[in-house]
Amino acid sequence: MAVILIAEDELHIVRVLSLWLHRHGHRIVEARNGVEALQRLDEEPVELVISDVNMPGMDGLALVKAIREDRGLKVPVLMLSARCDQMQLSKQIRSYGIQLFPKPFVPSQIVEEIDRLLQAAAAS
């Protein structure tokens, strides 16, 4: 019931998330990196963004900075990362009100988290 943008260069992850989110009735917009994600955001309204951190071209950190600071969008963002410096990453994105989800993850948890975020967004 929501439009969700997935910015991720690892195609298997895009695919598995799409499967699960489709099943929960969401529509998926795909992007391979930050630049593409910003383009999709400009093209259509998105209710939630799932983004990887390490992506070729524009990475996830630059993307959320652009979303929050340049675009001024308050769209909820869920970040995924396989990096080992997760504490540092968490600190960097906490100021934007964004939570980090470490890889490997379980898709059901992601779905739950997305539902929670969407409800919170709707409530505000």
Binding site: W20, R83, V106
Partner: protein
């Protein structure tokens, strides 16, 4: 005066010396007195002997005169001739012999030095005398000795007006017919004819008895010489005494002089021990005359100059000089041979020493900068003939050292990392304060170039981060797809198949990655072993290309495999060679943008098999072309860093090829693509295969 003062005060030796001289003089006086006394006795004895001899001589002349007189009586003419002088004749009452005696007395009186001299007969009637008034008179016997004398008789007597002791000498000239011992017998009718043959018989006058027949000489002479002892008699003793006294005094002076020097030195030392004198030179004895004092002064001078030297060395803290003196050039060379820079600073921040590596780091001549402060060095500008690079490093280094100079009383060393990003270099700077009180405020700075070490550390950290990321990516896929399957929510057979495929593929990816990491560690410790077998290169390349076909399609890359019609099998480790193919293909696909192409070729060239992996990717800058084969190293291009990678793929590939006796080279232009060329020796593989066939 205490006993201590007795030995240390300077006047005591004088007192001591004077007492010695006094004792000597007393002894000298005693010896002199005894000597004089003895001389006097001996002179008196000699005088008496001379007198006695003279008296005896006179007596014999008188005896001769008596004989002449008796001869003249017999021959009157002769007697007249013998009494030529008219003295006796003019004197009334003088007999003929008397005149002769008187003449003899006159001749001898002056010679003997007598006071009185007379010739008497047995009745003491004066026959002749120096005092002519006495002639003819009879004198009483006043002396203690018996009369008439039989031999030379000396008795002491006195004369009015003569205080000195006088001797009365009596000697017979002509003996009486009887000896005096028998005088009484003669008186009582002894024979006058019986005369000793030795003495002449006196001419007997008519009426004269035997007693009166003798003639005797009587002389009063001083017992001792009237002139006394002259200075000459004492001169020998006096001269000896004076010489001895002088010598003693000289010895005393010399000894006292030496002793005085020692006493003064002792006094100075006592002052020093009491802490009165701080300046050593004040211990010098100003009017040094003796050897001990002069030697002392020399010693003090030497010590003072040494002390000055030591203090100057301390004050300047010239470690380098001390090092040069104590350890010679060897120490300096040892310090220069160290890779680390060593700078020794005094408490004013002035450079006292720096070794050659430190000179290189600061871009300055080690000899010229000694004594220059850090502030001066910082503001000195560009080093002479040095590069901007050296100037920058000097500026940063000096600034860091100055900021971290130890505060007063701080004993802890400061360790700082100086990163000069412009030079892509890092230095570990340690500032060690000297805790020794003599080197207060001084410090030694050690500068170590840790650029290489730091780069290696960072590469390793990066590798760990990359490996973590690389491991998590397939794990994420496996876990996500496994949960998709197990959730039971997706029963579409197509989805199920897809899930299995992904899980299988990602598991292989994971295992390959782990293999790579293991290979690296094996290659690091040198335990990697090739499991050799016949390898069908055609199959190897075909499988490798098939594995990445999916990825190439995803990225829309044209992937081609160009093989010759016939390709022999080679000897080698199939799995490891598969890793080489996979790594090179993966690398080509990873850095080739969508729409590009990757061509894999193989050909037999002389005795080697040449595999080529040509892509139209981003290319590799010449500076990075060697580095990409190093462990954990990747190109510095941002496009490379944007891709995930551990930096072990090319390293592993090259190591494996080298184990097979070949090598990998690279031709690349940034923006145009790269070609990796793998050369495997064909001869070796043929020989190996033959031997393995023969062995089989």
């Amino acid at each position: 005066m205490s006993f201590k003062r007795f030995w240390t005060a300077e006047e005591v030796p004088r007192w001591f010396g004077l007492s010695v001289v006094l004792i000597y003089l007393i002894s000298l006086g005693a010896v002199g007195y005894l000597g004089v006394h003895d001389a006097r006795l001996r002179a008196a004895q000699q005088y008496r002997a001379q007198t006695a001899y003279a008296v005896e001589l006179l007596a014999s002349r008188l005896a001769a005169a008596s004989r002449e007189a008796s001869d003249a009586l017999a021959v009157p003419g002769e007697a007249e001739a013998a009494t030529g002088s008219g003295d006796a004749r003019r004197t009334p009452g003088i007999t003929e012999p008397g005149a002769r005696y008187q003449r003899a007395l006159r001749e001898f009186a002056a010679q003997i030095g007598t006071l009185e001299l007379r010739v008497l007969d047995g009745r003491r009637r004066v026959l002749a005398a120096t005092d002519t008034l006495e002639i003819g008179s009879t004198l009483p016997n006043e002396a203690t000795g018996p009369w008439p004398p039989t031999a030379l008789q000396v008795t002491e007597t006195a004369l009015p007006g003569h205080p000195e002791s006088l001797g009365l000498y009596r000697i017979p000239v002509v003996r009486a017919t009887r000896t005096p011992a028998v005088t009484t017998a003669v008186k009582s009718g002894g024979k006058a004819e019986e005369r000793p043959a030795a003495a002449p018989t006196a001419p007997l006058e008519a009426g004269a008895d035997a007693e009166a027949s003798g003639v005797y000489l009587e002389a009063i002479v001083p017992l001792e010489p009237t002139h006394g002892l002259s200075l000459a008699d004492y001169s020998g003793g006096l001269a000896l005494g004076l010489v001895a006294c002088g010598a003693l005094f000289a010895v005393y002076r010399a000894l006292r002089g030496q002793l005085r020097g020692v006493v003064r030195i002792a006094g100075r030392l006592q002052q020093r021990s009491l802490g009165i004198e701080e300046d050593l030179r004040a211990l010098c004895i100003t009017d040094a005359k003796d050897a001990a004092t002069r030697a002392w002064n020399q010693l003090v001078e030497l010590t003072a100059s040494l002390q000055t030297e030591v203090e100057r060395t301390r004050a300047n803290g010239e470690l380098s000089r001390v090092l040069e003196r104590t350890a010679g050039q060897g120490m300096n060379e040892a310090l220069n041979a160290l890779p680390d820079g060593i700078i020794y600073l005094n408490n004013e921040g002035a450079i006292q020493y720096l070794n050659t590596p430190a000179g290189r780091l600061l871009g300055c001549d080690t000899d010229k900068v000694k004594g220059i402060t850090l502030v001066e060095l910082e503001t000195a500008g560009e080093p002479e003939g040095g590069s901007a690079r050296a100037g920058l490093l000097r500026q940063r280094l000096v600034a860091m050292i100055r900021q971290n100079l130890p505060a007063e009383g701080v004993a802890d060393a400061v360790n700082q990392l100086l990163e000069v990003s412009e030079l892509n270099s890092s230095y570990r700077v340690s500032i060690v304060p000297l805790t020794d009180a003599r080197h207060e405020g001084e410090c030694v700075v050690l500068v170590r170039d840790v650029s290489q070490q730091l780069r290696a550390d960072r590469a390793r950290e990066e590798f760990v981060a990359q490996v973590t990321h690389e491991l998590r990516t397939p794990l994420t896929n496996i876990r996500a797809y496994a949960e998709t399957l197990s959730s039971g929510m997706f029963d579409d057979p197509k989805v199920v198949t897809e899930c299995y495929n992904v899980i299988t593929k990602e598991t292989r990816r994971l295992s390959r990655l782990i293999e790579d990491i293991l290979s690296v560690s094996q290659m690091e410790v040198g335990t990697i072993e090739l499991v050799e077998d016949k390898v069908d290169l055609k199959a190897l390349l075909t499988d490798g290309v098939r594995d990445v076909r999916g990825l190439a399609d995803e990225k829309n890359i044209d992937l081609q495999l160009v093989l010759p019609a016939k390709l022999e099998a080679v000897q080698g480790d199939r799995d490891k060679l598969a890793v080489v193919v996979n790594n090179l293909l993966g690398n080509a696909l990873k850095y080739t943008p969508a729409g590009g192409s990757v061509v894999v070729g193989c050909q037999l060239n002389h005795n080697e098999l040449v595999l080529t992996f040509k892509d139209t990717g981003i290319g590799i800058a010449p500076a990075d072309q060697e580095r990409v084969f190093e462990k954990f190293q990747r190109g510095n291009d941002p496009a490379v860093l944007a891709e995930a990678g551990t930096g072990i793929g090319l390293y592993t590939a090259r190591e494996i090829v080298r184990r097979h006796g070949g090598d990998i080279s690279l031709m690349s232009k940034p923006g145009e693509g790269s070609t990796f060329i793998v050369r495997l020796p064909h001869e070796r593989s043929r020989a190996s295969s033959l031997s393995s066939v023969a062995g089989a």
